[in-house]
Amino acid sequence: MTRASTLVCLCLALASGCGPRRVSAPAAEGTALVVLLADPDTGAVGRATVSNANGAVDLAADRDATTVLTGRAPAPVSPLAADTLATVFGETLSSLPMAPMSFTLYFRLESNELTDESRALLPGVLKAVSTHPAPDVAVVGHTDTSGVPATNYALGLERASTVRTLLTGVGVEASLIEVSSHGESDLVVQTPDNALEPRNRRVEISVR
């Protein structure tokens, strides 16, 4: 065999070795891998349904995963190995923003003044604002079901505005605060209409 024909053989062998890999790659273009994860703080696991025109699967346990190829039904559910999870998603999971922090404030009976316990929470709100990057502060007023919805909406807004003033008083920047009212539509304790319920009369602050 001449040197030239050896080279040709070598090139052919290399080319055939490379060929299949190049062909197989684009087939996976639209493939989706979906993984359900437990909440790292509470351990609670939610639920998710992965579906398309060809079928559906339910993810219900920590690291339950399915792969879906374009035009095919979702593959049967199997757990994703912890090290694969870390390799594929670790960096992205570590880029999740900090969890929001919530505070619930109550008012004294027949009054626009916070209870002492609630007033003591205000510095904690300022602290949460300072630890969250690019923070937003939502202040939402809620009422009980006594009275009519329109009046309760206004009352919720009034209480939320009172809390905004208190927050700026402890040093929270006013421009970060968004005030709103859910009136009597978002009860903590379910009651019939026209029920006095102090636990429903509250302002919820969320720092996110």
Partner: protein, 152 residues
């Protein structure tokens, strides 16, 4: 008042109303805010692309794309949290959070790459209002945490 004059008034009032109506309809409420950026990340809003920055507001129909070293984290108004890994593209196709009117909708398109999702209040109050879309399947959510990878 003459007939001609009153017609003119009606037409004028109508035109003013029409001119104002789109402004009322479009009054944009942000869907959320970018809390963390590293590497190359761009935000497309209203057809205009700009580098994503910490503190920037994100609206319904905005999209985010990341470069080979890019990562971005954002928190939506209903406390949904999202992060997007390198070489990825997402679009917030729909976001509506109006608890006073019990109106909720959230649709996220994962076009390519890697995304982590932590459900917020919309998923709690109205689970059927949440849709995470990939090119090959749709994910419905009943709470907590998911990761999605689209592509190789």
């Amino acid at each position: 008042m003459t007939v001609r004059y009153s017609v003119a008034v009606v037409v004028a009032v109508g035109m003013v109303f029409l001119a104002c109506a789109p402004a009322f309809a479009q009054q944009p409420v942000a869907a959320g805010r970018i809390k963390l950026v590293s590497g190359a990340v761009s935000l497309v809003h209203d057809g205009r692309q700009a580098p994503a920055t910490v503190g920037a507001l994100v609206y319904e129909q905005d999209s985010l794309t990341t470069g080979p070293d890019g990562r971005v984290g954002l928190t939506l108004r209903d406390e949904t949290r999202l992060s997007v890994g390198p070489r990825s593209a997402i679009e917030i196709s729909r976001f509506l959070y109006a608890p006073a009117d019990s109106q909720y909708a959230f649709a996220l398109k994962v076009i390519r790459g890697v995304v982590a999702y932590v459900s917020g209040r919309i998923a709690k109050l109205s689970p059927d209002a949440v849709r995470l879309e990939t090119p090959s399947a749709i994910v419905g959510v009943r709470g907590t945490r998911l990761t999605i990878k689209v592509g190789r």
